[in-house]
């Protein structure tokens, strides 16, 4: 055990810190749930890519830096510390990218990864269906093979970024006779294909953070299939693993929230201390964010040495999503009467983005497998309790 960074790691940190200081936009971008904001974020992805900071964990020949997990954590720390924009590209970077590298053909890698890296192609997810939310095996959308085409029909929902994205990756039932996990295939679909209708779904803040997508005899070339026909489930499970596990939620995000919460508390201490539960919650928030960081580094080191991540990725999902909810809930209590004000309200001084964060935090325990599902997984797979 050695809990400090190497010179090389420190130099890496210095490099990204310097680059970010010079390149992070002075004005915060508009949210990527608006068309203008989406475009701004797409441009930011291009800027990142020019600096070779877009996909730091990708191999160098794909425009990455082949960062190991520790370097990735350092990158994330500096990224959040600098207040750099959210990644509109995260479906690509963290989900489809690694899946393509593992399951894609050489041709697919060359075709998709570079354009993903530059932000030219932004990807939407196509997992859920109206009756297959937590239960992905209930997927009903079909892709019927006809020659070298698939003819897709059906409906996807909760597709994040789909309103302005270019491509969608998702699972479709290629064997109409199949049930549950069998007979599903992983297919990549250009969103401008005829027969596709995208209906935005407004989320809590009123903006279309996700969409429903309707497929009406949509023709997709067989070369857009990822992995074997009927093997979609195992390909998708790998992707879901990337999502639930380490890669999506770096500790930096929660540590920055905890830091801002401490600041908010200190700036309002007199009124905050009228409710002793607030001070307690702030202390707990800092400790939990710190625990999350320590545990993530410990897991990252273990994985670097060839360890595997298993059902404990479910503990990860529960821990950060509840921490995030608790921190933002504490901020709401702390802000009192001001908590309800939208950020642009003229008398909202000091409320910052807490309300947006609070609403966003509500999605944490829900998406990528509800926390109830995660608890089942922990009990059954990690603890070995009876089904």
């Amino acid at each position: 055990m050695k809990l400090n960074f190497t010179e090389q790691q420190n130099a890496f940190r210095e490099e990204i810190r310097t680059w970010l200081a010079e390149n992070v936009p002075a004005e915060p971008l508009k949210t990527f749930d608006t068309e203008e904001g989406f475009q701004q974020h797409r441009e930011w992805e291009a800027t990142l890519n020019k600096g070779r900071w877009g996909m730091v964990t990708w191999p160098e020949d794909l425009g990455g830096r082949a960062c190991d997990l520790i370097e990735w954590l350092i990158f994330e720390e500096e990224y959040y510390r600098a207040g750099a924009p959210l990644r509109v590209n995260q479906n690509g970077i963290f989900l489809l990218g690694p899946t393509l590298m593992e399951y894609g053909t050489q041709e697919q890698k060359e075709r998709f990864l570079p354009r993903m890296a530059t932000g030219e192609d932004v990807w939407a997810q196509g997992w859920s269906e109206p009756n297959a939310g937590s239960d992905m095996a209930a997927i009903r959308s079909t892709a019927k093979r006809e020659g070298d085409k698939y003819i897709i029909n059906g409906q996807k929902t909760w597709s994040t970024r789909a309103v302005w994205a270019d491509w969608l990756f998702g699972m479709f039932r290629t064997d109409p006779e199949s049930e549950r996990h069998r007979g599903l295939t992983f297919i990549l679909v250009p969103l401008d294909t005829p027969g596709i209708t995208v209906r935005p779904i407004p989320q809590l803040d009123g903006l279309p953070g996700f969409a429903e997508i309707f497929f009406d005899n949509v023709e997709v070339d067989v070369s857009n299939r990822l992995g074997d026909e009927g093997a979609g489930w195992s390909v998708a499970m790998a992707t879901a693993g990337f999502e639930r596990g380490l890669m999506l939620r770096s500790p930096a995000r929660f540590q920055e929230t905890a830091r801002r919460l401490v600041e908010l508390y200190r700036a309002n201490q007199a009124s905050a201390d009228r409710d002793p539960g607030v001070r307690d919650a702030v202390i707990r928030a800092w400790m939990d964010a710190e625990s999350y960081c320590l545990s993530t580094y410990q897991t990252a080191c273990r994985l670097s040495q060839g360890g595997k991540i298993g059902a404990e990725s479910s503990t990860n999902k529960i821990f950060w999503s509840e921490l995030d909810q608790n921190m933002h809930g504490t901020a709401m209590s702390l802000l009192g009467a001001r908590a309800e004000l939208l950020p642009h309200a003229p008398d909202a001084q000091g409320v910052g983005t807490w309300l947006d964060g609070w609403m966003f935090a509500q999605s944490g325990p829900i998406y990528a497998g509800t926390n109830e599902i995660q608890r089942n997984i922990i009990a059954e797979r990690m603890l070995g309790m009876p089904r």
Partner: protein
Amino acid sequence: MDFTFSEDQLLFRDSVRDFLVNEVTPERVRASWEKDDGRDAELWQQLAELGLCGMTVPEDFGGLGMNELDFVLLAQECGYVALPEPLVNTALVAVPVLSRLGGEAASEYLPRIASGELRVAVGCSENGLVEDAAQAGLLLWAEPEAFYVLTAEQFSTRYNPSVDPSRRLYAVELGSDAKPVATGDQAQALYQAVLDRGALGAAAQALGLAQRMIDISVQYSSERQQFGKPIGSFQAVKHHMANVAVRLEYAKAPVHRAAYALAEDAAGASEAVSHAKLVACEAANLAAKNSIQVHGAMGYTWEVDLHIFMKKAWALAGSFGDTGFHKQRIAEHIFADGAALGAGTTFA
């Protein structure tokens, strides 16, 4: 000792509930969100015709002469439908405070409020922002040392949008000709009266909101299928809802006691209000949290009705004294030297 509502009170509640549930549908709430002023003049007139705007106005001034206790069950129902119109602030806060102030202001304005002709807004400096100030013909503004009754020309407003699109909040600036109608002890009493009644109104609405979120979630989870059965048959989903039901069940009596205490001007009424507001808003917050979880991704959308009630619950938690304000009042009460605590002290 009788902790029940009268037959009349319950019957009136039932008829108002029927009216509200039929008329103030989620669609109508959404429609009012779209309006510039957020208000629904037709609905307000309907409420006035039912006698609700004047319910607490003395009979001499054209009202029904009822009190905070009579109104508290109706305030719950207003929460249940997330009524956007400022009925609770009018009938439970502004009117009783104006009646206490008495004099010319009362005799001039109360009849017009009762008829629905005059909209009144009420705020206090603890809160900062005032609901519906720009839509009101009359503003009651309470500071610890000064109490104002101002007509529309005597103040200006600045709009502050809330997460709850029903709430139209305004910073108010008093005009140079604004003169307090009460100062000193009288102002202090009126300031307390505004805060306590406002907090009671928020608490009562929170009860209704929590109940509505339970009802919506129970219905959704009974219909929505996952893994081949309704999600409401999963124990985790049941227990989320049961936990809300427990907190809600035990928040009701405190709210009713607080209403009684205010109506009777009982000693300890302020602590009773703070207790009621804290437990009722906590129940509503838990209802929001567990309801969105039970709804899954649907709960995160603008499309299902849940967010109408959830956002109002979030907003009310900080209104008319936030958690810190009310907890501090409780702390001052229970940690005082010689405080009467323990068995047998609740109704003493």
